[in-house]
Each structure stands twice: as C-alpha cells, then as structure tokens.
C-alpha cells in the first residue's frame, strides 16, 4: 500500500477498512470502538452527505450530540478490556525492529509488518506530511464535495481578494487578512498590539458599512482555520500512532473543541483563535488527518509573533462529562509520578540508550491501560480520597464558566509584583546559591557516574528559608535535562518529606511504593527494601539504576531507638546497593545527636546553607522583580537589611515585600483609581515599615492599651506586687486586695472579687498573664507573660486612668 500516495483522499478505501474481517482480539477491539467514537462528532450540517462512517448515527442535532458523547464514552471502557487481557501487545511491541521504533522513516512503512502485531511509531510520514505523537492536526469532519481538496495555504486579502504579494495584517476581531496597502488609510508596518480592521471598527461604532464583495465568479476559499472555527473541521492532538496488522495507520487523538461547542458557549473574553483541549480521546485512521496546525500555550502564543494562519491558543481543558473548565498545567509543574499518564512527554524525549527505551515504552503503555482500568470500575462506591479512586474523582473539579476577571483583567505593576513575589512562583534563576548547587551536583554526578555506585550520604543543614530543598531540586532538574540529552546514566529519584509522613516507619512504605508502585505494610516493605539493597531480589523495573533518595526534614525520622534512621543510613554501606542519600534538616549537629553507629554511617560529607546576608536577599528580590517597576530601591534594601538582621530567611523577606505591595495596592485601591501621581503607586518605605511592623511586632501592647479599665489596674497592680515582692508570681488574693485598695483610694467603683477573677481569666486566655485555672479562686497563682517594661510602656499614659502612672 503506498501510503504517501495522492493528496486527495479516497474515501471509499478509507471506509472499507472498517468492515474488514479481523483476526486478533486487539484489532477487534479497535474496530468496535472506532465507529462509535468519531460518530458523535459528526455534525448535522453534513446530514445530506450522511457520512459513510456512521451507518448507525442518523443526523443528530448538536445538543443531542453532546449528550450522546457523554453516553458513549463509558462504553468504550469495556471494549478496551481485551487490551488488558491479551498479553501480546506489551512486550512484543518493540520487536519489529530492535533498533527502536522512533526512527520515523518512510522505508519503514513499506516494510511488511508481522501479523498480529501492532507497531507503534513515534513519527509517521503520511501523505507527504510528517506526523509525530504530540503534534496537533486538523481532522476532516465530513466528506462533502467542497473544500477538502482545496486547501489554500495562503489567505486572501479581504479587500482585493488576491493572496500573497505583500505583508498582510490580521484583524483581531474578524480574523480577516488585509494587505497593508489595501487598508484605508494604508499602513506602513504591522501595528503593535491589537488592531481591528476599518470594517470592524465601524461596526463597533454602530455604523453600517458594507464589506467589499468578492468579484463575480470568484468563490471565496475558506482556509482551514476558518473551517475549524465554524466547526467544519476538527482539531486534535495525536497521542500515539500505530499500524494495525492489516497495514492501516491509526492514531489515538485527543480532540480540541471550539468555544461555541462547549456548554458555556462563547464567552466575551474568549479569543478568536481560542480552543479548548478536551479529555475526549478517540482512535482515528490516519486517512482523516488533514494537515498540521499549531495549538500553543499562552506563553508560546505570545512569543509566536507571526506563526502563520494555523496557530491556535489553548489555555484550558474542557471536561466533556462535567462540562467544566480547568487550566492546563505546565508540564514541569506536574510531579512525575510513575503511573501518571502525563509522563509521556518526558518519556518521548529519552531516546538515547536503547535499553531504556524499552522501559520507557513500557511505561507509556502502562499509563493508558491503568487509566482505563481505573475508569472501568468507576462505579460510585469508589471514594475520591482513596488511592484507587483518585484518577476518577478529580475530573469533576473544574469551573463551570471561566471567570471573566481572570482573563480580562489588565494587571497593574503592583499586582504583577505581588504575583512575582509569591513563594509558589518558581523563579527563573536561583541567585546566590551557585557554590552550594555546584557542590550538590558534583556529589550526585560523582555518585551516579561511577559504575560501581558506592553508597554515599550527604547531609545538608541550614536554618529555614535558605533554599536547601529548592537548590537540591534545581540540581535534580538540571540533571534530568542532562539525562534527557543523554549525557548521564539513568537514575531514579525519590523525594520524601519527613514531616509529611504519618509516622517515621512509613518511610519504608513510601520508598517501596515509589520503586515498585505497589503498597505493602511497612514491615514487609522494610524486608523487601533490605533485600533489594543487600543485593538480593530487586524491586521494580529500574532495578539496576542508582537510586537517589532525598529526605527532607531528616530529624523527624528520629524514633526512640533510632532504628529507622539506622536502617536507612545502613543501606548505602552495603555493596551494590546503588543508593545515594541526601538528607536535609535544620540543625547543624544532628549527626552528633545520633547514636555513634548512625553518625558514623552518615559520613562526613556535610553542606551548610548559611543564612542569607542582606546583599543576597536584595539580589533575590530584585531578580524576581525584574522588569516590574513597583518598588523603590531603598525599600527593597530596607526590607532585606531588616530580615538579614533577624533571620536571613528568604521566605520572610519575600513575604514582607509582598505584604508591603499589598499595603500599597490596598491604599491605591481605596483611594480610587484616580491618583495620577505615579509616585504613589509604588511601594515605599512606609509600606515596608508597616509590613515589618506586622510581622515582627507582637500585638500585646496594642491589646493592653485597649484592655477594660479593671484589666489595666490589674496589670499595673501585678507589676507593682511583683516588684515589691521580687518573686516571679503573685497570688490572686493579694492582687485583689491591692486592686481594691487602689480603687478605694482613687475613688473608682469597687469591683467584686468575682469580676476581678473573670478579668484575670480573660487576660490569661490571651496569654498576657499566665494563670492557673479559675476554680482555684483566691489561691490562683498569676505570672506576667511579657516583661513588666512592656506593661509600663503600654499603660503609662492611659487617658481614662490618670492616677495609674503614679504606681509605675
């Protein structure tokens, strides 16, 4: 079969395949699902040319179409069972040529495949186009007479109706193309920012204006983009490609959807070229694929200045079952768990060594099947918070309508600064930790690259907020990219946080699960792990790869007899353990606190992250705020100096700056948007001062100042009594007597004993004073929780009790 044959696709051949008798169960499954899958997408518009694929789908109105799709998706699940049942596809898949299926090449396609095997490809040259997994393509929707053959690559100008020639500019409203010279008045160059054509401008202004009509006899040729946006074409993303044993190429695709087809309809904030990715997958024949298009994430879209006509924008995913939207996650934000199907992009890249390839493919296959098996038993008793249910339940979360403020809001500088200062935003660069990162990276590389991976340990310590975990993760990210480019031996990275474990022993369970994907009790896991590291039965797929174990908050693993730490630190010392441990904790002398046999195993390799000094803090903040003009120079310096003097905690410094930006933003917003004075819209010293005040100053003085009158008298009497007696605490009996005598002398109303007791208890609740429980009545012992100078300072000049100051 010559696949790269004619550009005009012959429908008859394409259709006939479906009815072919089939042998293998795997194929049978495909055939079952294919007709039912794409059909719901057929639109009534094609009703006349009732598409040959859909014998059982009569023309359905579009609303029904949606519900049909809903109904049909679950049926896909049972039909997929054969895949899981048959052992064939998994291992043999790589067989056709040991040299890897990635080499894309036409010659390969001519090669006659062995029967009963599905060959998966990374890349297929088909019809003169090169298609790879992960590409976005147009998919033909109907087989009508119009248009499929004609595919204008160049768009025609809306005024002169001729394509090509000069530079064209696209209207951001109607998406029509215009020659620069055809626009009235003519444009010199492509304008910056949004541009609307004169016709759209006029329409917006409410004037009636006639658009130029095409010259007689000339048919308007619609581009693929226009067809897509008027739902005559589909767009889809190729997830995988394979060839059936009968030689026909298939692709699993993920559909894109245009805003009009969603439940929410087109929203005012939708861009013209916006698409939504759906979670609807289908298997289609390569026949139906039309040609490439380019669906880009917001960032790519912004960068692509003139990407051509087939560029689309996709920020959200649309769930076709629940009709809700969700932002697409950035790939590198996603944690890379083993079973996660989203791991594919990573695997797709590592094609350096042939033996890993098989592994990666194995994973790839594992992903979908697991997913589908989880889907299959998506009966309702599955709980979302149990592990098994997770894949199912979370799809439901999503927003019905994308809130307008998210899309339309033009961020001010202050808001941008706030976003940049968020702890969660990953900075583009990590300043000030180069030396440490160098060291970590050298350590890890050293450990990996040695063929004989000797067990090693690295202990990293430093106060909170000095970038310990972040540095290690950054190093690992860098190493991963090195691994992807093939310069490094593959390894396995496990990250564990001691404070997130329910109990120290659970760490065995977690490690085992990360290696193997199965869950067992911790005792069993310990047994398996010990065997694994001492050279017995290996766990998991990557049995021979070195394992890098990062344990954050290592000190939390301390148990009474320290057995957990002992076991973990003992593994690297075994021969052939292939284990590297990086431990992170706050205390400098953790090894010294441990039993000698553990600290000796921990080794001497240590790395200290000192607190940042003010220059470094300043650099960190300014590097985050690059390009945003929201802070005064001195303000940043002030904040970093202040934090460096207190703790050197970068988180603290960022939070203070963010808080200050919030103060400034609040001030600007309260005063109304009218303030033209630019200097006011910048974070100044005052804001930083207020933020620091809030963080560092305890609120007790404020509360003391606002105490009820008797509360103040009690506090002063207490200071007085404590001073007189020289003791640390005072009995309530004595205190009350003093208070009463003072009140008597100064002609205040005399409070009852019980009232005083109640006030004491209230002060005790706020921990201004420390007191025993109230049932002890007069035997209650009281203690000041703050230095008596604070009380003196707070109550020296209280307007309602002028006489109080003479007792201080």
């Amino acid at each position: 079969m010559d696949l790269s044959a004619t550009p005009s696709r012959s429908k008859s051949r394409h259709r006939s395949t479906t009815s072919k008798p089939v042998a293998s169960p795997a194929v049978a499954q495909m055939d079952l699902s294919t007709p039912s899958k794409p059909t719901p997408r057929r639109k009534p518009r094609a009703a006349a040319a009732a598409s040959p694929v859909a014998p059982m789908s009569p023309a359905t109105p579009s609303s029904v179409r949606r519900s049909r799709r809903l109904l049909e998706t679950p049926t896909k699940a049972p039909s997929e069972t054969p895949v899981k049942a048959t052992p064939t596809p998994k291992r043999k898949r790589a067989a056709p040529s040991p040299k890897t299926p990635i080499q894309s090449e036409p010659k390969r396609q001519r090669q006659q495949p062995k029967p009963k095997k599905r060959a998966y490809y990374r890349k297929v040259v088909y019809d003169g186009g090169e298609f790879a997994a992960g590409d976005d393509v147009y998919v033909k929707r109907r087989e009508s007479a119009e248009s499929d053959a004609e595919d204008p690559e160049a768009e025609e100008c809306r005024v002169c109706f001729s394509a090509g020639g000069a530079v064209m500019v696209e209207c951001d409203v109607c998406l029509g193309g215009f020659h620069l010279r055809c626009v009235r008045p003519p444009l010199r160059r492509v304008p910056e920012g949004d541009w609307a054509c004169p016709y759209c401008e006029a329409e917006r202004a409410g004037k009636a204006i006639e658009r130029p009509k095409p010259p007689e006899g000339k048919r308007i040729v619609r581009t693929a983009k226009e067809k897509l946006l008027s739902s005559d074409l589909w767009a889809a993303r190729i997830e995988s490609l394979w060839r059936e044993q009968d030689g026909i190429f298939w692709a699993k695709v993920r559909w894109y959807i245009i805003p009009e087809e969603t439940a929410a309809g087109r929203q005012p904030h939708n861009l013209r070229r916006e698409l939504y990715r759906t979670n609807d997958l289908a298997d289609i024949e390569m026949e139906t694929i039309f040609r490439h298009c380019y669906v880009m994430s917001p960032k790519e879209f912004k960068d692509a200045s003139d990407g051509g006509d087939d560029v689309f924008y996709c920020e959200y995913e649309y769930d076709i079952h629940w009709h809700n939207f969700k932002r697409l996650a950035d790939i590198d934000d996603e944690p890379k768990t083993k079973e996660d199907p989203s791991d594919v992009p990573y695997n797709a890249g590592n094609d350096c060594v042939s033996d890993t390839d098989e592994d990666s493919e194995y994973d790839e296959e594992e992903g979908p099947t697991k997913c589908s098996s989880a889907r299959r038993n998506q009966s309702h008793e599955l709980a979302a918070n149990l592990r098994k249910g997770r894949i199912y339940g979370l799809q439901k979360i999503g927003i019905r309508k994308i809130p307008e403020h998210v899309r339309c809001h033009q961020k001010t500088d202050l808001e941008k600064a706030k976003a940049a200062l968020l702890l969660a935003t990953l900075p583009k660069s990590l300043p000030c930790r180069d030396k440490e990162m160098e060291e970590i990276s050298a350590f890890v590389k050293d450990a990996i690259c040695n063929d004989q991976c000797l067990g090693r340990c690295l202990y990293i310590h430093g106060v909170p907020g000095t970038g310990k975990t972040m540095s290690v993760l950054a190093v690992m990210r860098r190493l991963r990219s090195e691994l992807d480019s093939g310069n490094l031996r593959p390894y396995c990275f496990i990250e564990i946080n001691g404070l997130k474990l329910a109990s120290p022993e659970n760490i065995y369970k977690v490690i085992y699960e990360q290696l193997n994907g199965h869950r067992v009790g911790w005792k069993k896991a310990l047994h398996y792990l010990t065997e694994h590291f001492s050279g017995g039965t290996k766990i998991g797929i990557q049995a021979n790869q070195p394992i890098i174990l990062l344990i954050d908050e290592l000190d939390l693993l301390l148990t009474r007899n320290q057995s957990v730490l002992y076991n973990i630190l003992d593994w690297p010392t075994r021969p052939n353990s292939n284990l590297v441990i990086i431990g992170i904790a706050n205390t400098m002398d953790l090894p010294e606190k441990l039993l000698p046999r553990i600290s000796s195993r921990m080794g001497i390799q240590r790395l200290c992250f000192g607190p940042y000094n003010y220059r470094q803090l300043q650099e960190i903040i300014t590097s985050r705020l690059k390009g945003i003009d929201a802070f005064e120079e001195q303000a940043i310096e002030f904040a970093s100096r202040k934090v460096a003097a207190m703790s050197g905690d970068a988180r603290r410094a960022l939070e203070i700056c963010r808080r200050a930006a919030e103060f400034a933003d609040y001030r600007v917003k309260q005063s109304g948007h009218t303030s033209v004075n630019r200097g006011k819209n910048v974070v100044c010293m005052g804001d930083i001062e207020a933020a620091i005040q809030e963080v560092f100053q305890a609120p007790h003085i404020q509360v003391m100042k606002n105490c009820p009158k008797f509360g103040k008298i009690i506090l002063v009497a207490m200071v007085h009594e404590l001073y007189k007696s020289g003791l640390g605490e005072v009995m309530f009996d004595k205190l009350a007597a003093t208070v009463l005598s003072w009140c008597h002398v100064n002609r205040e109303l005399l409070p009852g004993y019980d009232t005083l007791l109640k006030i004491c208890c209230k002060l005790g609740e706020g921990k201004i004073i420390l007191c025993e429980e109230g049932t002890k009545h007069k035997l209650q012992k009281l203690q000041l929780n703050y230095p008596s100078d604070d009380v003196t300072f707070a109550l020296k000049e209280s307007p309602d009790l002028p006489w109080l100051s003479k007792y201080l």
Partner: protein, 422 residues
C-alpha cells in the same frame, strides 16, 4: 390591653432577633474602609482574583467578633463569586489531632465537590488527596479557604497538618487561604520554626471597641426602624424613649461600669438581651429600670451570693477556718477545725452548739459548694476528716457577707473582726 401586650411581645421578638443576628450587629463594619472586615475581605478577595496564596491570623480576646467577621467576609465573597470558593472549617478543639484533621479536610472537600468519601483512607492518602485537590482547584480558578478556629491548638506537637498545608501552598500553583482564628496573642510564636517560615505572617488584631462606638452600636441595635410590621405610633414612641434614655446621665454611668469590666461586643450583646427581656410588658417600652436590672444581673457575684444563704453553722466553720489561717496554720483538716470550733464555743458560750456529725455534714456541704477545697490531690485514701483543706474565699468577702447577713449572730462578726485588728 391585649393588643398592647402583643405589640410589646412582638417588639421584643424583633429586638431579640436583631441582637442575635451577627450580620445586623456588625453591619457598621461594611461601610468604613479601615476595619478588619475590609482588610480581611481585601486579602481573601485578592487571592481569589489574583490567584495567590495567603495565610492570615486573626488575634484578639474572645468576644471581639473575629469569627463573625470571617463569616461575613465568606458570605459576601460566596455571593460575589459563586462556584469559585469552597470553605473548609476546622476547630482546634475537635481536630487538633493531625490525622483526624486531615480526614476532616478530605471529608469536607469531598462534600464540597460532590465526591464520594471513604473513611477507610489512611492519613497519607488523605494528605495526598488534599494536595491533589489544591492543585486541581488552583487550575480551575477555585479558591479553597481553610478556617482554623482555636488556631493555637493546632500548633501542638509536630504540627504536621500546618506544615503540609503551608508547604503545599508555597510549592504549588494553588489558590488557598488559611485563616487562623485564635484568642492567644502569641499564637504565631507557637509555630515551629520551619512552619513559621512558611507562614505568611499576616496578622489582624481585634480589640474591644471604644465606649463611643459601643454607644453607637447600642443605638443601632435598639432603635426600631419604621418599616417593621409594628404600629408606627408605637415605634415612634419607643424610639423617643430610647433616645431619651441614651442621653441620660445615669445611662452613661451604667455603660461605664459595664465596660470597666469587659468592653467586648459579645458582653454588650448579652447585656442588651437582658435589657430587652426586662422590658415593661404593659407599655412595651424600655425604661431606665430595665437597664439597671440588666446591669445588676450582669454583675452578679456568685460567691457572695452563695455565702449569703449559708447556714449559721457553716458560717461558723468558715470563720474558724479563717481564724486558723490567720494563725498561720499552714495545713489543717476537719479535726483541727472542730478543735477551734470547740474553743470558740467554750469562750463565748453561744447557743449554736452542734454535734460532731452535724458539723461534718455542714463541712461536706461547703466542700460541695466549692467554698473550701482540699489543699492537694494527695491522700485520696485518707478519710475526709483528716485530709488537709483550704479556704477558697478571702476574708474580705467573708466579712462583707457577714455584714450583709441579717440572721448572723453578732458573735461571729466579732470573732472575725477581732482577728483582723488584733
């Protein structure tokens, strides 16, 4: 007559309804820009609209309206952004155990998003579920708001809950707000250093309001508006009366003596509720007398009251104990008291002579009323007579109650006074 009564009771019901409705009580907060309400609302709203994480602590003595402000802010935001906010409420009294708090979070998240929940899930599962939910909700522009009441109780032990919550918030692109509510002023100092470093240190301080604003609040709450279903004539009459009371000098005194002890909003509300309950049901109007009654019922001294209605013998025992304490007996028990009692009887030859068993009954009664107590928890095996006891009321209180007690024999007072001035 019957009509008037019904009007009065209806007015009472309206007023009580207003006093118990937090939204009415704190309505004044909405208008001004500098209150904690608007600050908190700005914080939460900015995290909803700008997709950022925040954690904030609300500190202040009990009864200052912390929880009420949180409730108002959340109600308002739920109205503004329906479908985009889910609230998880935890209370330190109930969920201070980390595992149980995690489970509760998972349960409420499931409930909020119509997912099915399993109580079998382990705490690791629940933690992972929470982190997944945080991420998914962040992607869907949904904000999760955690309200942790009695925040200080979460800051015990290893603080795993706070750590995993705050760590997830600073490492994921989620939008979540943690609102901690606590009456301990040093709540943020209780956090472990690595938790504190992740906490974003916004603090809002709630303090009791000033006398002026309290008076405004009272005015706002007690004045009936014209559009209530009550007769207009009555409403006018009632409002005129309330205004005249508020301008009275006596009222100022009442207000001052009330706020001298406790100036929190909840205290004032309790006071006003009593005022309304003391309303004159014939005329349906408030009078100065109802304010006075309410004040005196607010300033009850329970110990004095219980001293008032003790029997003579019990008073004798208390006085004897007081004499013993004055004589610097560090430790004494029932038998010592009986000895003292005997010596008093011998010296003054009073008629109030009771047998040993009757005295013991009275002694037990005093123990029950917690006017006296055992000195320590040791010696539980000892019989009651020999366990050391202590007096829980001061001699000052005792003397006052004897003075007020008309049936008390003069000897007793003399006994007490002699001790004091000797």
């Amino acid at each position: 007559m019957a009509a008037a009564t019904s009007v009065a009771s209806r007015a009472q019901a309206v007023l009580r309804g207003r006093l118990c409705d937090q939204a009415v009580v704190h309505a004044a907060l909405r208008s001004s820009p500098d209150t904690n309400y608007s600050k908190l609302k700005y914080l939460v709203a900015s995290s909803v609209s700008e997709a950022c994480n925040n954690s904030v602590l609300l500190l202040g003595p009990r009864g200052c309206g912390k929880a009420a402000v949180v409730k108002m802010v959340l109600d308002d935001l739920k109205k503004e952004h329906p479908d985009a906010i889910s609230v998880i409420r935890l209370n330190g009294m109930l969920h201070s155990d980390d595992n149980c708090a995690m489970k509760e979070i998972a349960r409420q998240l499931c409930l909020e998003h119509q997912l099915s929940f399993s109580k079998m899930a382990s705490s690791d599962d629940n933690t992972e579920f929470m982190i997944d939910m945080l991420r998914e909700c962040g992607l869907a522009h949904k904000t999760i708001i955690f309200v942790l009441e009695e925040f200080d109780l979460f800051a015990q032990g290893k603080q795993r809950l706070l750590y995993s919550l705050l760590d997830a918030m600073q490492s994921l692109t989620s939008q979540a707000v943690v609102i901690g509510v606590s009456c301990r002023l040093d709540a943020d100092q209780l956090l472990e250093k690595r938790v504190r470093s992740r906490f974003s240190h916004r603090k809002l301080l709630f303090v009791p309001s000033s006398v002026d604003s309290l008076q405004r609040l009272m005015d706002h709450l007690l004045t009936l508006s014209e559009d209530t279903p009550l007769p207009t004539k009555y409403v006018r009459e009632y409002n005129a009366r309330v205004t005249s009371i508020f301008s009275d000098k006596k009222f100022k005194g009442i207000l001052n003596s009330l706020t001298d002890a406790d100036a929190t909003t909840s205290h004032i509300l309790r006071f006003l509720f009593r005022v309304v309950s003391y309303m004159d049901m014939d005329s349906g109007l408030l009078s100065m007398q109802s304010f006075m009654n309410a004040l005196s019922s607010m300033q009850r001294q329970p110990k004095m009251d219980s001293l008032q209605d003790l029997s003579i013998l019990e008073l004798y025992i208390l006085v004897c104990m007081n004499r013993l304490e004055d004589k610097e007996h560090s430790s004494y028990n029932f038998t010592t008291i009986m000895k003292e009692y005997k010596s008093v009887q011998d010296a003054y030859k009073t008629s109030d002579k009771y047998s040993h068993t009757v005295c013991f009954r009275a002694f037990e009664h005093l123990l029950g009323r917690e006017l006296i107590s055992f000195a320590d928890n040791r010696g539980r095996t000892l019989s009651l007579e020999y366990r050391p006891v202590k007096l829980l009321i001061s001699s000052h209180e005792l003397a006052q109650s004897l003075k007020l007690n008309t049936t008390c024999p003069a000897v007793l007072q003399k006994l007490l006074d002699r001790e004091r001035y000797m």
